[in-house]
């Protein structure tokens, strides 16, 4: 089976450079084409064995970026590097081999498993696609991976609808891991789950990352989950990264107004904190027609003239902590 040789010395597992993905919006015959600028010139690196979190609300593009990195959605421009290989330039056959190294776990546990296949076959098929194994070998591997996610051998012989949401996510994780990938995109993996189930899944994800030396791209809207899981994070708004850095840097000293507003929006039972905080105003604009200048200016409480006219540059405030704002806080 052909393999692609890859240099192992690079510190970053994934490198994204100027990634763009626009979706065309259907218009009538006489109006000019409009685009949803879902991912609009995004660049960042994901260090090996880290958890990189992406946080954002509706229209931020966080869902699109996860899939674009895996080329499940094709970017319109930009480069995605896996170690030192440019995966944007791979052809279909080469890409298929690379897919072994990078997998995705989606938000919806109820539709991410084939409703008419046994769990054994859902997971086994992944092996069949890539390797020539005997049915016993496949059986063994499926059994092992199910054990890793806390399920039992007999669960192989059941159908998806017989499991609860949390168990289905475990199966989704098992399916993602059976090919022994190095990189996982987790797109809101616990958002549809109850709090107590979420705790189980998050803990499992943490321990699996340790055991299998994985690198995660963790996408969510929940800042508390990011705090628990991530080492680094990026805050996205309307297709762009507003702030990026290590998790601690960002939580302890947020420099972008949007980040601060996000943190303030989290419900806080302490009545004293509540009175002092600043909240964002207005609605989230549509990603089809993002505001001119700084995209956040329509909701920013610290807006100045420059913000309406000019799009801010990305500045590095301290090592690894970057912000896209004319007047960063602090």
């Amino acid at each position: 089976m052909p393999t692609l040789k890859v240099k192992e010395e690079a510190k970053n597992l994934i490198s994204i450079e100027h990634l763009k993905k626009y979706f065309a919006v259907k218009q009538g015959l006489f109006s000019s084409a409009k685009y949803v600028k879902a991912v609009d010139d995004i660049s960042f690196n994901i260090p090996k064995n880290s958890v990189f979190g992406i946080v954002g609300e509706s229209g931020s593009g966080k869902t699109t970026i996860g899939r674009t990195i895996l080329r499940l959605i094709e970017p319109i421009s930009g480069v995605i590097r896996y170690l030192s290989t440019d995966i944007t330039s791979l052809n279909a056959r080469e890409l298929r081999i690379f897919r072994r190294k990078m997998q995705i776990i989606s938000q919806d546990p109820y539709n991410s498993l084939h409703p008419r296949k046994l769990i054994k076959n859902i997971i086994g098929e992944c092996l069949q696609i890539h390797f020539k194994l005997s049915s016993e070998e496949i059986y063994q591997r499926v059994k092992d991976i199910l054990k890793q996610v806390g399920l039992r051998e007999e669960h192989m012989f059941r159908y998806a609808h017989e499991f609860s949401g949390g168990q289905r996510q475990r199966i989704a994780v098992a399916r993602a891991l059976v090919l022994k990938p190095e990189f996982l995109v987790l797109d809101e993996p616990t958002s549809s789950l109850d709090v107590s189930v979420q705790a189980v899944i998050l803990k499992m994800l943490k321990s699996l990352k340790r055991d299998f030396s994985l690198t995660y791209l963790f996408i969510t809207h929940d800042l508390a989950v990011i705090d628990y899981m991530a080492d680094y994070m990026a805050v996205m708004y309307l297709g762009q990264i507003m702030e990026i850095g290590s998790k601690n840097d960002i939580f302890l000293s947020p420099r972008h107004p949007y980040t601060l507003l996000l943190l303030n929006s989290i419900p806080n039972p302490d009545p004293r904190k509540k009175k002092k905080r600043v909240l964002p105003k207005g609605e989230i604009p549509s990603p089809i027609d993002p505001p001119q200048g700084c995209r956040f200016h329509t909701r920013c409480p610290y807006i100045k003239d420059k913000c309406v006219k000019e799009e801010p540059e990305i500045r590095e405030l301290s090592k690894g902590h970057l912000v896209k704002c004319h007047f960063p806080l602090g």
Binding site: G166, D194, S196, K203, L223, A224, P267, P280, E283, R299
Partner: protein
């Protein structure tokens, strides 16, 4: 009718079932709940705990295949559970209003928003839709923080989630109800919008003085908004106390488990999960429905559901770990 604990609402021994092809779902297993005028009560629980069913029961909206098979709901001095539909109609939407998680589901997609609000005001105040009513519509939209000129002519699908929820809040509060029930009003909204909506609700309710029941799975939201909290599990209320007490001094094993499982910014200790899974309500565990997952489970927990006990002033719990005799030793 059991003990009357609140001066606005008293739910006692409420049992609700749903008849399905799989079997009978015992959704509510003898719920006890109460609140006073002007209070804010948060009902917290996970999927299947029965919080929405409880809200629908109060509104009298339990329909086939569901049925209230036992229990009383006393609203001020009226026994809602024994009232006919035509009397309930006079209470629903007027004295008790409800807002839901999906605001668009409650709005007619082919009618302009302004007209729908006018309709609901007209019904409540028994007026014809005309200048007077529209002036009221305008006032409400402004209070809700919306640009009334624009909004009044929009169709529901043209509203964002946040805007639609503001419209719903305006409509629900237009009759100045004694009780507003909000069922997961912000769960479908973005975090920043959620904060805005909660703030709006807070301001309006402060001014008007309505009592609010806020149903949510997010303990943070309940904590911020509510004075008191009721924790529900698999069809029962298991703990009821002032919000600060629930967070600082949780007693029920389930409440403790929940609090230990929620990630929080700045939290340094490891998350802890509750062993086991949520029970099947067609064949629920006997006695206390939490016993299969409880590390302190005793023989008696399997027999009957524990009675509600007041362990401290205003702090109630349904757990055999805290019998009447143990009130002194309640702090473990």
């Amino acid at each position: 009718m059991q003990k009357v604990r609140g001066d606005l609402l008293n739910i006692s021994k409420l049992k609700v079932v749903f008849y399905t092809y799989r079997g009978i779902i015992k959704a509510l297993n003898g719920v006890e709940l109460w609140m006073n005028k002007g209070e804010r009560l948060g009902i917290v629980g996970e999927t299947g705990c029965g919080k929405s069913v409880t809200a629908l029961s109060i509104m009298g909206l339990i329909e086939q295949p569901g049925e209230i098979i036992e229990g009383d709901i006393l609203f001020e001095d009226k026994l809602l559970t024994s009232m006919e539909e035509n009397s309930l109609i006079n209470i629903r939407g007027k004295e008790i209003s409800m807002i839901f998680q999906e605001p668009n589901a409650a709005l007619n997609p082919v009618m302009k928003v302004g007209f729908q609000i006018a309709e609901s005001i007209g019904k409540v105040k028994k007026k014809k839709i005309g200048k007077e009513v529209y002036a009221e519509v305008r006032r409400m939209l402004e209070i809700a923080g919306l640009d009334w000129e624009r909004t009044i002519n929009l169709y529901p699908h043209e509203l964002s989630g946040g805007m639609a929820q503001r419209v719903m809040i305006a409509m629900a509060l237009s009759s100045n109800p004694k009780l507003l029930i909000a069922d997961e009003p912000t769960s479908a909204l973005d975090v920043t919008i959620q904060a805005q909506i909660l703030e709006l609700l807070d301001e309006l309710v402060k001014k008007l003085g309505n009592a609010v029941i806020l149903i949510t799975h997010d303990m943070g939201v309940a904590a911020e908004f509510c004075d008191k909290m009721a924790v529900m599990y698999a069809g029962n209320m298991v703990e009821y106390a002032r919000t600060t007490n629930i967070f600082e001094n949780p007693h029920h094993p389930y409440t403790r488990g929940l609090l230990k499982a929620v990630p929080k910014i700045g939290r340094t200790d490891e998350l802890q999960s509750i062993q086991g899974i949520v029970p099947d309500l067609v064949n629920p565990p006997s006695g206390c429905r939490f016993h299969p997952r409880c590390e302190h489970a005793m023989k008696i927990c399997r027999k009957d559901f524990p009675p509600l006990v007041e362990i401290k002033s205003g702090h109630y719990i349904a757990c055999y770990l805290y019998g009447k005799e143990d009130i002194q030793n309640a702090d473990t």
